[in-house]
């Protein structure tokens, strides 16, 4: 299955070009031009990795990151920053972002980070699945419990 990536940035031309490049690298790409739209999509669909611009009009990247982590804690987020300094990106990392990249970014670096982020998400999901299986084996009646 292709890795599902949501690319969020208010610069439409940037989103168009980068999404096309990532699609050529075999990712399943969805795009959003605002934090608000991104949160609606994340609520509705499951993405493996979100590439999130830090500075956007309205809902900014840091606020969006907090909401994403509340809604879908396993979804990995890579922050993109056009600022000259890394302070906001570091703040994002403290709030649970997987990694960050400075604009303009090297697509091969981004490709590598997406793959690593997807691998971490898959590993977390596998651990959760294994824990549930172990729970069922040790206590078969646990399947009757609500999640």
């Amino acid at each position: 299955m292709k890795t599902r990536v949501l690319l969020v940035d208010d610069e439409e031309q940037f989103v168009q070009a980068l999404s096309e490049r990532l699609a050529l690298r075999d990712y399943d790409i969805t795009t959003s031009l605002s934090g608000d739209d991104a949160l609606k999509k994340i609520k509705r669909y499951n993405y493996d990795v979100v590439i999130l611009d830090v500075a956007m009009p309205g809902i900014d990247g840091i606020y969006a990151l907090r909401e994403i982590k509340k809604m879908k804690p396993l979804t990995e987020v890579i922050m993109l920053t056009g600022q000259g300094t890394v302070e906001t990106a570091i703040e994002g990392m403290k709030l649970g972002a997987f990694d960050f990249l400075m604009k303009p970014c090297n697509t091969e670096d981004l490709d590598t980070k997406i793959k690593k982020a997807q691998a971490r998400k898959a590993e977390h999901e596998e651990r959760i699945r294994a824990a549930k299986v172990s729970d069922i084996i040790s206590s078969p009646r646990s399947v009757l419990k609500d999640d």
């Binding site: 031309q13 000259g84 970014c105």
Partner: protein, 231 residues
């Protein structure tokens, strides 16, 4: 250096830093778009090497996208250059329409981040005043920064230049949220120092949803800070 001069100097430096940081952010966004379009060209070249035909129209569209961004960057850099040259002379005769237009262009990103649109309504004829251009821009920005927060639900700030026989002023209008704004925080010592330097006056009028910045037509020789800090 007295306290007022120190405040003016510090405020001016903060203003210069804020604006140049914002401009650099805009330039980075442009570079990021050019970078992705160049990368896409590289991807297409690789695909062509592998025998995949690339439509000329697709290449043409990419070239046009890059040219559009170059034109955008050129405008950003021109405005940055105008802003940098605002410090050239301590006193200068300027057209207030041009000055306000430049402050609006520099501030658009800050307004947009707060989901506010700036709408300049400039007087048809030039509005000439003799002033300290950089500090005037600083003062307009501080008023605008407060006005953006006071925009209210309309999310629009209208900026108008006005000149009569007796007065020259800039009006910040459609501030639907002004009645709820913390009016005890404006003008602060920063704005007061600049108002003093420029012989200006600010009137906050919640009943009219507007802030009016009244400016002196010529500040030469009317206070001792005229040449600060350019001598």
């Amino acid at each position: 250096m007295d306290d007022k001069l120190e405040t003016i100097g510090e405020t001016g430096l903060q203003f210069f830093g804020k604006m140049t940081a914002s401009i650099s952010h805009e330039i980075k966004n442009v570079l990021a778009i050019i970078n992705e379009n160049a990368g896409l060209l590289e991807d297409f070249t690789r695909m062509a090497d592998g025998g995949v035909a690339i439509e000329p129209e697709r290449l043409k569209a990419l070239a046009q996208a890059v040219m559009k961004q170059i034109s955008r960057a050129d405008t950003i850099v021109k405005n940055m250059n105008r802003f940098a040259h605002s410090t050239d002379e301590s006193l200068k005769t300027v057209d207030l329409n041009d000055t306000l237009e430049l402050v609006v262009v520099l501030s658009n990103r800050f307004a947009s981040m707060r989901s506010v649109t700036l709408e300049p309504k400039l007087q048809q004829s030039p509005v000439k005043i003799k002033t300290s251009l950089f500090f005037l821009m600083n003062l307009i920005w501080l008023c605008l920064d407060f006005a953006i927060d006071a925009a209210g639900d309309g999310k629009i700030v209208e900026l108008a230049t006005q000149k009569t026989d007796t007065e020259t002023q800039i009006c910040f209008r459609r501030l639907g949220g002004l009645a709820q704004a913390p009016l005890d925080t404006f003008p602060t010592e920063r704005e007061q120092s600049l108002l003093g330097l420029l012989k200006a006056e600010v009137i906050v009028s919640p009943e009219n949803n507007e802030i009016v910045l009244k400016l002196a037509g010529d500040i030469e020789g009317i206070n001792k800070y005229n040449s600060f800090p350019f001598t």
